[in-house]
């Protein structure tokens, strides 16, 4: 198993997440896709750490931070989604178009 395998897995996950973020109509879907992108980065961190820089576990430590940050973002994001859902009764991103121009 070479490093490229892991990185390619990360890249693939990243691309799928990217696609989801761009196309899912549901805001929660977008959120989930972004989570996938975070995970892609995490795979990279750990893989690089393991393959190239194994002496210091910086990559893993960063991954811990990332997971936490992801959690924080999801919390805020979901709260926002709920708040707006209560008013508009929709979770579709294209319905949020009061502000434009």
């Amino acid at each position: 198993m070479t490093l490229t395998h892991y990185l390619a897995l990360g890249a693939g996950l990243f691309a799928i997440g990217l696609f989801g973020a761009l196309t899912r109509r549901n805001v929660i879907g977008i959120l989930m896709s972004i989570e996938l992108m975070f995970n892609a980065a995490n795979i990279n961190f750990v893989a690089f750490n393991r393959f190239l820089h194994p002496d210091r576990l910086l990559g893993q430590a960063v991954t811990i931070f990332n997971i936490t940050i992801a959690a924080a973002e999801v919390v805020v994001g979901l709260a926002l989604v709920l708040a707006i859902y209560r008013k508009l009764n929709t979770v579709y991103a294209e319905d949020y178009n009061l502000l434009k121009g």
Partner: protein, 649 residues
């Protein structure tokens, strides 16, 4: 007084400014007296100078002091006087005519609401002419030249409430201005080559031959100055303003035709004689312009019914004579200036007389006159004297001057002489026609005739003074040789002998023309003349239309109007658009590109057309449609672009 000759233009100028600014306006204003007094002073001054010159107490040209005016670059320009023979004579004539005209106007303009202003203008007009005559500096000459244009504008349009004068004054100004452009360019050319405006210095340079002043330059400058003269002196083709200028008060016409405006052109050509001497081509053109003018104007006078227009055409014709004289060499030069002097007297007299008639009849049309000799004796007698003078009746002043020109022309070219002689015959014919129609026969408009009466003495006295001068000036100046002594070119041969048949042919032509005139117009009814007119109507029409010159210039004016409108259209519709709306265009273009990209990628295949139309006006705002995933897409596009970029590296 000769050291203070600068006062001659200055005093009337100041007087005119005082009159204009500080005088009380009104029909009974006293301000005219100030103006007349100033002119009287000038006349006396010019008399004393002339006397000194004639008696050789001073040598001509007299070195008058000059005043530094200004300096531009390294060129100093000064205000100086050029007191030579022509200037001295001209000053005398101008001041005298102006003085008489002003006195005459006391009667003629009496009761006008702008009485005072008239005098202010006339004073200014005369002052400009005097400045032109006396100045040694061609720039000042030009300045005075233009100022005269303005004064004539003001005076021709003096009765501006009527549309006629208002139009005529503008026409006069613009037409002469067209010629002035030539003068202007000539001035530029001369300065560019010689670096000075001083006439003596220019003359000196010209006398140094082609090294100092190349022939082409002399020709060009000469022709350009001639353009100015053509405009001011109403030569072909710019004579069109002069007949219209009759719309002004008659004394003004007298002034314009006798002493000021039109004389200026002749005088300018005389002053810059050195250029024409250096360039035979320019000289020839001067002669031909003069001849053509003389002949054409005379023919046009044949068919005019307005008494002032007849006189106007006669002026043009006589000026053509002078121009012709100037173009035929040294002898012609003296003769032309001599004719200018004598012409001043009898033309002033003719106009003032005509003014007297108009004053009495309240009409200009000769067909409504007739039989006035009984009612207006002084006027008719003095007019008759003037007519004899202008037609060259032996002994009268015109005889001497005109003969001199004819002789000079004969010496130059017999063909020209023949045409000139024919023109003299025409002159005789139409002048007598005018006299007959006005004064002889029976009154044709009884009501007006009954109303008519002789003018007051304030008007007739100037007539008599001028009549005396018209009769005698030629004899006095010619026989004593006084004129030629002061006014001649260095290379002129004195007392050249002319073949005798010149005189006899002239007399024969005179007699024939006068007789023909009597046959057609002198016998009470104009049946023959009317018959003739009916038979030759195309020619009459052509003459009455002034050979179509007016129409041509009207066309020119119309053309420039159209051009102006086109220019303005271009300005508003094209240039403004290009430079202002270009921004809008760029924005629009950017927006369109944006739309294109959006349509291509974002909408995919989904309702392409609707979006395009929907966004067409949206500009860049189309980019921010409130769709968060589109925002994401832009970010992602940038990121993918980055990814591609790294590959290129």
């Amino acid at each position: 007084m000769i050291d203070h000759a600068y006062l001659i233009p200055l005093v009337p100028l100041i007087a005119s400014i005082i009159v204009l600014l500080f005088g009380k306006e009104g029909p009974k204003s006293n301000m005219p007296l100030l103006s007349i007094g100033a002119m009287g002073f000038c006349w006396l001054d010019s008399c004393s100078i002339l006397y000194k010159a004639l008696t050789h107490q001073v040598s001509m040209p007299y070195p008058a002091p000059s005043l530094p005016w200004f300096t531009f670059g390294d060129y100093p320009v000064s205000l100086g006087l050029l007191l030579d023979g022509p200037a001295v004579f001209m000053t005398f004539v101008v001041t005298l005519v102006s003085l008489l005209v002003q006195i005459y106007s006391l009667g003629y303009m009496h009761g006008d609401t702008r009485f005072k202003r008239f005098y202010a203008y006339v004073g200014f007009f005369t002052a400009s002419m005097l400045g032109l005559v006396l100045s040694s500096n061609l720039l000042v000459v030009f300045a005075c030249w233009e100022l005269m244009g303005v004064s004539s504008y003001l005076l021709i349009g003096f009765w501006f409430e009527k549309p006629g004068p208002a139009y005529a004054s503008k026409k006069a100004f613009i037409t002469t201005k067209l010629g002035d452009l030539g003068f202007y360019l000539g001035l530029l050319l001369l300065f560019a080559y010689a670096g000075t405006f001083e006439i003596p210095m220019l003359a000196q340079r010209a006398s140094m031959g082609a090294v100092a002043l190349p022939v082409e330059v002399a020709t060009a400058a000469g022709l350009l100055l001639l353009c100015g003269a053509i405009g001011k002196s109403a030569q072909v083709p710019l004579f069109i303003w002069l007949p219209d200028a009759m719309e002004g008060p008659t004394p003004v016409s007298a002034l314009i035709h006798a002493a000021t405006m039109v004389a200026a052109g002749i005088f300018l050509v005389a002053r810059t004689q050195f250029l024409y001497a250096a360039s035979p081509l320019a000289s020839d053109i001067v002669a031909w312009v003069g001849l053509l003018t003389a002949f054409m104007a005379a023919t046009m006078a044949l068919v005019a019914y307005d008494i002032k227009r007849v006189l106007a055409f006669s002026t043009v014709s006589q000026l053509g004579y002078m121009m012709l004289g100037l173009g035929v060499g040294a002898a012609g030069y003296t003769a032309a200036l001599f004719h200018l002097t004598t012409h001043a007297f009898f033309k002033a007299l003719l106009f003032l007389g005509a003014g007297s008639v108009i004053h009495a009849m309240h009409t200009n049309d000769m067909r409504e006159m007739g039989g006035l000799s009984k009612k207006m004796l002084s006027t008719s007698v003095t007019m008759a004297i003037a007519t004899l003078a202008i037609t060259g009746f032996p002994g009268f002043s015109g005889f001497y001057s005109k003969e001199a020109i004819l002789a000079a022309v004969y010496g130059h070219s017999p063909l020209m002489w023949a045409v000139a002689l024919l023109t003299a015959g025409l002159t005789t014919f139409y002048m007598f026609r005018m006299m007959f129609m006005t004064f002889a026969g029976n009154p044709r408009d009884i009501a007006k005739h009954d109303h008519a009466h002789e003018s007051p003495s304030v008007m007739t006295v100037p007539l008599w003074v001028l009549a005396v001068l018209s009769a005698l000036a030629g004899f006095l100046l010619s026989h004593t040789g006084a004129f030629e002594a002061l006014v001649h070119l260095p290379e002129a041969s004195h007392g050249g002998h002319h073949p005798g048949f010149l005189l006899w042919s002239a007399l024969a032509v005179f007699a024939g023309a006068a007789g023909l005139s009597y046959w057609l117009y002198g016998r009470g009814d104009f049946a023959v003349a009317a018959d003739l007119k009916a038979k030759m109507s195309p020619i009459f029409t052509l003459l009455e239309n002034r050979y179509g010159f007016d129409d041509f210039f009207l066309l020119l004016v119309k053309g420039s109007d159209v051009l102006a409108r086109i220019c303005f259209w271009i300005d508003e519709r094209i240039i403004d658009r290009v430079f202002v709306d270009a921004w809008g265009l760029i924005c629009l273009l950017l927006a369109e590109i944006q739309n294109f990209i959006d349509t291509l990628f974002i909408d995919g295949a989904v309702d392409l057309t609707g979006t395009v139309t929907g966004w067409a006006g949206g500009g860049l705002r189309g980019l921010v449609r409130g769709q968060v995933q589109e925002y994401l897409l832009y970010v992602a596009m940038a990121a993918s672009l980055f990814a591609m970029l790294t590959l290129i590296h």
